[in-house]
């Protein structure tokens, strides 16, 4: 993964200051292709959920009542905090403060790792209570969308580990790769914010 | 890198062929081949009456199902020596071998499964028998493409001393034409194209036997000529 940024890193670094006035694409442009694509794919899922919810409001409301809003809200804050430290770490690394950058990414990784754990505390009681994807359409959406999101979280944690390795081993660190990893992680955050509103909160 | 390994692998083919011939000769389903027009009850009765023979051959074929793979693997190596621009034909050949061999194994499983519990519902025994025949006779698509890939690599090799003589390629194209009719066994329950008919069954198996013999000879010759030439790994 670290090799991804190799080619363009130095060039981007030097060009970065000059380009700041016109606007700087954080991370690699090809990664943005992935991020926007992913946002669109999830967008289709969100709109599909809303459409099918409209067909059967009562079923969705009744099923929604069985979710654990507390863990959902805690998870939202956990991801937001993780994103904050990743953003702080990125800014520090860009400013040349490697130690602060590493600290930011480590704390971000720790908060990020708490997300799947909390998810398990949420899912396992639900599954043992008989609420499986086969229960009804709401729970199918619930498990598919949160499951997909969890896959993204897992991939994001792996990417954060590579970013930390990059910060530790390469001097100077490859800023474009760090930004790419951070961008992906924030996208995971954005998707969760929408999921939280759609699955847990709306009435 | 000398060619000893290739020669060893090639010589595993004759004993494998001998075992296949043995399996063919003692397999009750093939003497004569079961007619597709049998009713489920007749099929079930046949399987009840021949449990030992069918299970014995199913077990044997389970063990030797992949034993011709070394011959195909050596063919793939020789294809990759041809003067083509990329290993595309080698890769296609290898994937085709994997798919074709698995189809054969599935056929063997279905026959074994039918004989394992012969007092099963006749409907299911008949279904397993049909499925076995489908997998055994019909899926000629991969071996056709496989032989075409081989033939193409020979045709495209325009060096003055090609690896294979031209007629081997012509022969491979001819086998493609001769194997194609057995795909039609899906459509017919009687006549020459049914799975027990002369075109689908006899012609197909004869062609395959001759093909293996010819390729064995051609590969022996090619490996011998290869000598110390290095092979580029695909």
């Amino acid at each position: 993964m670290t090799d991804v940024a190799e080619g363009s890193a130095t060039g981007v670094d030097q060009a970065q200051r000059a380009a700041d006035t016109r606007g700087h694409v954080p991370g690699e442009a090809s990664m943005w292709f992935f991020v926007i694509g992913d946002l669109l794919i999830f967008g289709v899922y969100f709109v599909g959920y809303m459409y099918f919810r409209g067909q059967n409001h009562q079923l969705f409301l009744a099923s929604q009542a069985r979710l654990n809003v507390d863990i959902g809200a805690i998870n939202t804050v956990v991801l937001l905090t993780s994103s904050l430290f990743v953003a702080l770490g990125t800014a520090a690394a860009r400013a040349g403060n490697i130690a602060a950058g590493l600290r930011g990414f480590w704390i971000g990784l720790a908060f990020g790792a708490a997300f799947p754990l909390l998810k398990m505390f949420e899912w396992i009681p639900e599954i043992t209570a008989g609420l499986t994807p086969g229960t009804n359409l709401f729970f199918m959406y619930y498990y598919v969308m949160t499951g997909m999101h969890l896959c993204h979280v897992a991939l994001g944690l792996v990417i954060l580990c590579f970013v930390i390795r990059n910060l530790k081993t390469s001097i100077p660190p490859k800023i474009s790769f760090i930004e790419t990893g951070a961008t992906y992680w924030h996208m995971v955050d954005v998707l969760w914010l929408v999921l939280f509103a759609l699955l847990y909160l709306m009435r | 890198m000398n060619t000893r390994g290739q020669r060893i692998l090639l010589w595993t083919a004759p004993p494998a062929v001998a075992l296949f011939v043995l399996a063919y000769l003692v397999f009750p389903v093939f003497s004569p081949p079961l007619s597709p027009t049998l009713t489920p009850d007749q099929v079930a009765a046949f399987f009840r009456g021949n449990v030992t023979g069918i299970l014995g051959v199913a077990i044997l074929c389970n063990l030797i199902a992949c034993s011709l793979v070394p011959l195909f693997a050596v063919t793939a190596v020789q294809i990759s020596r041809a003067a083509t621009s990329s290993p595309v034909l080698t890769y296609a050949y290898v994937i085709c071998v994997g798919v074709g061999t698995t189809a054969f194994i599935l056929a063997d499983y279905c026959w074994g499964m039918a004989a394992f519990r012969p007092d099963r519902d006749p409907q299911l025994t008949s279904l397993l028998n049909d499925m076995a025949w489908f997998f055994f006779i019909a899926p000629v698509g991969t071996i056709m493409v496989q032989n075409l890939c081989f033939a193409l690599s020979v045709y495209l090799d325009d060096r003055p001393d090609p690896i294979f003589p031209r007629w081997v390629a012509h022969f491979n194209v001819a086998t493609v034409a001769l194997l194609a009719p057995s795909a039609f066994s899906i459509l017919y329950k009687s006549g020459p194209l049914a799975w027990n008919g002369p075109l689908s069954f006899t012609l197909r198996l004869t062609t395959f036997a001759v093909y293996i013999a010819v390729m064995f000879w051609a590969l022996l010759r090619a490996v011998k000529q290869q000598g110390d030439d290095r092979v580029v790994l695909a």
Binding site: - | R81, A83, S85, S86, V88, L89, V99, F134, D158, I186
Partner: protein, 267 residues
């Protein structure tokens, strides 16, 4: 172990005596792809109406009637003759991955994924449909099982294709020879992630997550078809742009004064 074909930098021998197209093998393999996919599409949609998929919850008489339609047999026949071209279309990915600066493990994973995928995703479901039409005497219970088996194996066979596309996407992203564009690698990764979303077809019998559902079939199909077309366009460009000197059958370099092509030197 990275086997980047170290292309000799000297320009190709201008006196290319043999005027035929050196990449003929790649082009023949490439043009079999549109042929194969068209046959595939024609057989599944207008000939047999296997696709778009019928509902998993359709009443048994409808299933029985569908499984008895003679066109399923003809579809099965055509596919049996043509399915050997699927390995050719897969080997086109493999030759491009071979040119990349990544480990051979990537293309070997893809090769194994292609082998297993062709069996469980194509040959087996095809025969499930064919068998029902072949012998009209089967009981409705058996026919329903074949129907389920056919559709679930066809639409719900995930792992083999996932490993293939994961290896393909990663290879593109990690490659340093720029054989295929980087964004295609990311595109492949999200195509692969969407494929995971087909898992609910094993649970839902109706609605958007059934095997004929809006999410699991239609949405995945739109993504897949556009991805597949773009991949082949990129592969077309990659074959076209491959320099002559990098080919396995590149003309012998004048420098070592080789008398004849020793044995596909150069790669």
């Amino acid at each position: 172990m990275a086997e980047a074909p170290k292309a000799p930098t000297a320009p190709a021998n201008p006196a290319t005596s043999r005027c035929r197209n050196r990449k003929l093998d790649q082009w023949i393999a490439f043009w079999s792809v549109p042929f194969f996919f068209n046959v595939f599409g024609l057989v599944f949609v207008p000939l047999s109406w296997m696709m778009p998929p019928r509902s998993p919850s359709s009443p048994t008489p409808h299933i029985v009637e569908f499984m008895h339609s003679h066109n399923l047999l003809i579809a099965c026949l055509i596919l049996t003759l043509a399915y050997g071209l699927a390995p050719v279309s897969n080997s086109l990915y493999l030759i491009q991955v071979k040119r990349m600066s990544v480990s051979p493990a990537f293309r070997y994973s893809m090769m194994i994924g292609a082998i297993t995928g062709a069996i469980v995703g194509m040959l087996f479901p095809m025969f499930c449909f064919g068998l029902g039409a072949f012998r009209p005497g089967y009981s409705p219970a058996v026919l329903t099982m074949l129907y389920d088996f056919g559709y679930l194996a066809f639409i719900g066979s995930l792992g083999c294709f996932c490993v293939m596309w994961m290896a393909f996407g990663l290879a593109i992203i990690l490659d340093e020879n720029n054989i295929l564009p980087k964004w295609l690698g990311y595109y492949t990764i999200w195509q692969y992630v969407t494929e995971l979303m087909a898992a609910p077809v094993w649970i839902a019998k109706s609605g958007p997550f059934a095997w004929n559902g809006l999410m699991t079939f239609w949405f995945a199909m739109v993504l897949y078809v556009s991805w597949q077309i773009i991949v082949y366009v990129c592969i077309f460009k990659a074959i076209k742009n491959q320099p002559e000197s990098e080919l396995d059958n590149a003309p012998p370099q004048p420098a070592p004064a080789a008398v004849e092509v020793p044995s596909r030197a150069g790669a």
